[in-house]
């Protein structure tokens, strides 16, 4: 079985291993990407010993050639992998070195030398609108309250008299979160859950009455278009006190619309339905474009829809443990973005979310 002559396959394989080991050492010694380039040419290039060995395979007998060829291919690909690894590692090291060389110890910045351009920035239209609305309500005696954007089903729906599978849920297409049991945690579809939190807290602290407005971000699973965004902002109002009536609600709506939109803008209330208020109403305001004369924006009616309101439903009072024989209350809500859109005639709501400074810097 022992072979004879120049083509001893064992000897050839041994030679190949030795060549590969030498090549690996050369590659590993490279300490910069430039050195690695040179090492790669030297070990795997056209004139490298391994390339020579590959060319020499032709002189072996077929069986030896097959075996040596296979071994050579294995060694070749492991060396290529080694080059790739080294290249990645050297690139990482060089990036880190560059970042380290770029070092700035922030404790030793001499502030007096920092120059800043004398340009004033602009608040976002939604954020200034929110502030303006808050200010109107603060002047009317409201506190400003806030609550979480991710809510449980209890706060967002059930305590608001919208039990599971209630048809009214169709009005609020919700994003559910992968938290807890399926469909127990939603991105709030309105700011109304904060009503429940405020009432629960007031009951616990025995601190009714409540006079609060609740601004915040809400989410509905609607496709964005010129007048809807899946992420939007609302203001909610809640008053729970003795002797509060629908007349107080109507007066409050009228007062804030006139205060925010100007003396020529008035409100009208129409019957509507919300599970958490009874009686419920929708309110329209005088069209801000035509001031009631009728135009295309208001479909000739002279009115624009703003929001919903009503007297707190007795089922909601029951859910939070407030005695409706002693207290009564009203709630109202509307879109901050929609307010901004109406007051500034923003054609497409999506421009509010685009962060385009050419839009933002107008306000």
């Amino acid at each position: 079985m022992a072979g004879s002559g120049a083509s001893d396959p064992n000897r050839t394989l041994g030679d190949l291993d030795a060549l590969a080991a030498a090549a690996a050492r050369t590659i590993e010694q490279a300490s910069t990407t430039a050195e690695l380039e040179r090492a790669e040419t030297a070990t795997l290039g056209r004139r490298s010993p391994l390339a020579e060995a590959r060319r020499a395979l032709g002189s072996l007998d077929p069986e030896a050639r097959r075996e040596a060829g296979r071994r050579l291919n294995d060694l070749w690909s492991s060396l290529e992998a080694l080059v790739a690894r080294s290249r990645a590692e050297l690139a990482r090291q060089e990036r880190v070195a560059a970042l380290v060389a770029d070092r700035l110890d922030l404790t030793e910045v001499v502030l007096a030398t920092v120059r800043s351009p004398l340009r004033r920035g602009h608040r976002h239209l939604v954020s200034t609108t929110r502030d303006a609305l808050e200010d109107v309500f603060v002047a009317m005696g409201f506190q400003v309250a806030e609550g979480p954007e991710a809510e449980t089903d209890w706060y967002n729906f059930e305590a608001l008299n919208i039990p599971p599978a209630h048809p009214a849920r169709g009005m609020y297409d919700s994003f559910y979160l992968e938290v807890g049991e399926p469909e127990t945690v939603v991105l709030r579809t309105h700011t109304s859950p904060v009503q429940i939190r405020l009432m629960e807290a007031a009951v616990a602290a025995d601190s009714i009455p409540i006079h609060a407005v609740i601004p915040g971000r809400c989410y509905r699973r609607d496709t964005a278009d010129a007048s809807h965004l899946p992420v939007f902002h609302q203001v909610e109002g809640l008053v729970v006190d003795e002797g509060i009536t629908f007349a107080d609600l109507a007066g409050t709506i009228e007062t804030f619309t006139t205060a925010y939109f100007g003396p020529k803008v008035h409100a009208r209330l129409r019957p509507s339905y919300f599970p958490f208020t009874e009686p419920s109403a929708e309110y329209d305001i005088t069209c801000t474009l035509c001031l009631g004369a009728g135009c295309r924006t208001c479909s000739g009616t002279g009115w624009l829809e703003l929001g919903g309101c009503g007297m707190v439903d007795p089922a909601v009072f029951a859910a939070v443990g407030i005695d409706p024989e002693v207290w009564s209350g009203f709630a109202f809500g509307f879109g901050i973005d929609r307010c901004a859109q109406m007051r500034h005639q923003v054609a497409d709501m999506r421009s509010l979310l685009e962060s385009d400074v050419r839009f933002l810097r107008q306000f």
């Binding site: 502030l111 005696g141 979480p148 599978a165 209630h166 127990t184 699973r221 129409r270 509507s272 050419r358």
Partner: protein, 825 residues
């Protein structure tokens, strides 16, 4: 819902003009989305008899037709072929303007004069059929010379497009709308009389009715008709269906739909002979049972879906052998629908559990006219009238059809009418009105609430069964108050502005959050709003390691997670503006980011049962800012941090690079720092520069981008982050003395610790310590740098002597040497 005025007038003599009706409907809560005028433009269209049809030489698409419009014969060129001599067809005479706006003129075609136009149903706005003429032969009252409108009984009509709220199932039909209008205009209101002659055999001999799931189907009635001829509906009915937005199908199906629109009660007709066994059986669906609905789709039933309250209970309607033929209250099955060949009709009229219908409809994503009505609540006692009315209409449309005697009626637990004792003071207490009991009764009576005096200001109100939205006492009081308000008129209720003694205001946090915004705006930054719904891979690329909170049902893959940082949104905002060649970009955002729930926090109530509750995601309210104007870098971001600290009197912020070089997500590892309150206080944020690789990957800027992020709930929290005292400190009236010291300090020692050492030694006499120069290079030694501080000494009660200043300086230097290993240069 589309409500033709003429249909409403079936129930009450409504005469008010359209504007007044629109106002009244709006004020009643039946919101008018649109008003359409129909059936106009027919004034000059008359019925005419075809006298003669002849070809026109050289034309094969048009013919010469001579018609008799009840006077002189008229010559017309006509392109339709679906009529013959002696047929009656509509003629629009010269000068007519058709409903579609087309004006008819005299024309000459191929040498023949056309003195008008013979019209199709589509051209007249009466149907969708534009293929041929509207042939009137056989129509009662159609004769040459009779105006078309008169022959067809068409009056100009007005169709109101109404939105009916979910709590008004009673108003989701013509009768309901008319009832409200009649009450508002104080008109008599009456439902159509139904007189049914039962000429067929007893219904028990023809079919059976069994309910195995009375919880899902509290009432089932079955009526049978035989000798029915299925064909097109009478024209008047087809027209009303079209005006109401439904497509006419055949006289049986149309009668069912007509009654649903008229009375609000869905019914379902089956071909009795196509049911596997004659009769209906209502049961729960077996788990996994498949029913093929009328639309040809196989629906899998009885399998609970996701979400609260989901039981997987579905109600199936089966034939008498238990083979499913439809989904109860939602959709009929394909196997037993009414066909041309049908002669015996089984009419199902039932009541279903609204919640069960809602769940099934939601889970199957299958919403029909019937399911929408059942899930809002249908009057279980309106069934009889509705079924009789369908039978009456079928018989009227199919002469010879017979109604089987009697009705199969299976009743489970049906609600008894709600009775509420209502005090006028209770209404007034909610509405702010001053109505008397009799005034309340006068408002409620006309819409079907029977009121009887109960002494004092009280009345007993019996709620009609078509108002399932009105709850029993105590909650029902509010429901009645709404009805009173609605009929009284919301606009008539007084407007009063409530006042109370407590002042309004922002919380300290809210007020200071506004100041944070103002400071950044003052530094030239524009405020942006970026979406909270993000692509989690964007944030993974930034190196955010905390797991995201994911959305179960996202609208798009790149909006499937809640943001963990504002960095991604701000980088995208920079890129957006850079792509649009906008410069001077400094942007900031105030808003919430979401981290996974923290089990160490108390859980939040999840549902009505209470239970263990659920841990909500942690919401962190942040302000984040990017500084990408020309020349901006970490130092600019740092100066912004100082400006914020100044504005808010935050006393002692310390910067520390992240330990062991672990980079903060997205930040330059050696030009960024964690911001702490004091040497060992809580972390309030990060400041520095974005990693240039990240900036490049997002295409956000060409140069350095400074970064600042603060957790506002921590930064503005007075217990966690100390503020400079608000007590006024007197200013010394004596001159101060400045001394500069240059100290060589190891790179590992932050400069603020050196300043601490100097300050500690200087005591009260050291008014300020200011770093004014940093130098690395020859003479300082490797791994060290020279920090040059200006020490300003001042005493409140005297001028310090040179000797004193010299001694203070020495003490400070010694402290720096001892505490931080500094050496004086």
């Amino acid at each position: 819902m589309r409500a033709p005025l003429s249909w409403l007038q079936d129930f009450a003599p409504i005469e008010a003009d359209v504007d007044a009706l629109v106002d009244a409907l709006d004020d009643l809560g039946l919101i008018v989305e649109g008003v359409e005028r129909v059936g106009t433009g027919l004034d000059q269209v008359v019925v005419s008899r075809v006298l003669e049809i002849s070809p026109i030489a050289g034309a094969d698409r048009i013919r010469r037709v001579v018609v008799d419009p009840g006077g002189e014969p008229v010559e017309i060129v006509c392109g339709a072929f679906n009529f013959d001599v002696d047929d009656l067809v509509p003629l629009a005479t010269v000068g007519t303007v058709l409903p579609n706006g087309m004006e008819i003129g005299r024309r000459r075609l191929r040498g023949v004069t056309s003195n008008g136009m013979l019209c199709s149903g589509r051209e007249l706005g009466l149907s969708d059929d534009g293929e041929g003429l509207l042939v009137l032969t056989g129509t009662d009252g159609a004769a040459p010379g009779v105006p078309l409108a008169e022959a067809l009984g068409i009056r100009p009509d007005v169709v109101f497009d109404l939105t009916v709220e979910g709590n008004r199932p009673d108003a989701w039909c013509m009768a309901g709308v008319a009832r409200d209008l009649a009450a508002r205009f104080k008109l008599p209101f009456a439902l159509p009389e139904v007189e049914l002659e039962a000429a067929g055999p007893p219904v028990e001999t023809l079919a059976s009715a069994v309910v195995e799931a009375p919880g899902l189907c509290p009432r089932l009635t079955v009526r049978v008709l035989d000798s029915v001829v299925v064909g097109p509906s009478p024209r008047w009915m087809a027209r009303r269906l079209v005006l109401a937005g439904m497509r006419p199908i055949n006289n049986v199906v149309d009668a069912s739909n007509y009654v649903m629109l008229e009375l609000g009660q869905p019914t379902h007709p089956y071909d009795l002979d196509r049911l596997g066994a004659p009769g209906l059986l209502v049961r729960r669906a077996h788990p996994g049972e498949v029913v093929r609905t009328l639309d040809g789709v196989d629906r899998v039933l009885g399998v609970p879906g996701r979400g609260l309250g989901e039981t997987g209970e579905d109600c199936v309607i089966c034939d008498a052998d238990g083979q499913p033929v439809g989904i109860g209250g939602i959709f009929g099955g394909a196997s037993s629908e009414i066909a041309e060949t049908t002669t015996r009709v089984l009419l199902e009229t039932a009541a279903f559990d609204p919640m069960a219908i809602a769940r099934t409809s939601k889970r199957l994503a299958l919403r029909t006219e019937a399911s929408a009505r059942f899930e809002r609540g249908v009057d279980p006692f309106g069934i009889d009238r509705a079924a009789e009315r369908v039978c009456q209409l079928v018989v009227a449309s199919a002469p010879g059809a017979r109604v089987a005697a009697g009705v199969l009626d299976v009743r489970g637990d049906l609600p008894s009418p709600v009775r509420i004792t209502l005090g006028a003071h209770q209404v007034n207490r909610l509405l702010g009105t001053e109505l008397s009991a009799s005034e309340v009764a006068e408002l409620l009576g006309p819409i079907g609430f029977r009121c009887t005096p109960a002494g004092g200001d009280r009345i007993v109100v019996v709620v009609p069964t078509n108002r399932p939205d009105v709850r029993p006492e105590p909650h029902g009081v509010a429901d009645l108050a709404e009805e009173v308000a609605r009929l009284y008129g919301y606009s008539r209720i007084e407007r009063r502005r409530p006042t109370w003694a407590t002042p309004g205001g922002l919380s300290t946090y809210q007020a200071e959050r506004r100041r944070v915004r103002e400071v950044l705006v003052g530094l030239g930054a524009d405020e942006v709003w970026t979406s909270s719904l993000v692509d989690e891979r964007d944030e993974d690329r930034l190196g955010v390691r905390i797991p995201p909170v994911r959305i179960t049902n996202p609208m798009a893959a790149d909006q499937a997670a809640l943001r963990r940082t504002q960095m991604g949104g701000l980088l995208r905002a920079l890129a957006w503006n850079r792509d649009r060649r906008q410069g001077d970009l400094r942007l900031f955002e105030v808003g919430v980011v979401f981290w996974p729930p923290d089990p160490s926090q108390p859980p939040t109530r999840a549902g009505s049962e209470g239970g263990a509750g659920v841990h909500l995601p942690v919401e962190r309210e942040l302000v984040s800012a990017v500084f990408a104007a020309d020349g901006d870098d970490a130092a600019v971001a740092l100066s912004a941090l100082h400006a914020l600290a100044e504005e808010l009197r935050v006393a002692d912020l310390r910067l520390r690079p992240q330990a062991d070089g672990a980079a903060l997500p997205g930040l330059h590892p050696s030009r960024s720092a964690v911001v702490r309150s004091g040497r060992d206080g809580p972390v309030v944020g990060t400041v520095g520069e974005l990693d240039p690789a990240v900036v490049a990957e997002f295409g956000a800027a060409s140069g350095r981008v400074g970064w600042l992020e603060l957790d506002l709930r921590t930064f503005l929290h007075r217990d966690l982050v100390s503020r400079r005292p608000e007590v006024a400190r007197p200013v010394s009236r004596y001159p101060s003395a400045d001394v500069d010291v240059a100290l060589s300090v190891d790179d590992a020692i932050p400069a603020d610790l050196v300043a601490d050492a100097l300050r500690g030694a200087g005591g009260e006499l050291l008014e300020s310590v200011t770093l004014f120069d940093v130098f690395r290079g020859p003479g300082v030694g490797p791994g060290r740098r020279s920090l040059a501080f200006r020490l300003r000494f001042c005493a409140a009660d005297r001028t310090l002597t040179d000797a004193e200043v010299g001694e203070l300086r020495a003490r400070c230097v010694a402290a720096a040497e001892d505490e931080v290993g500094a050496s004086l240069r």
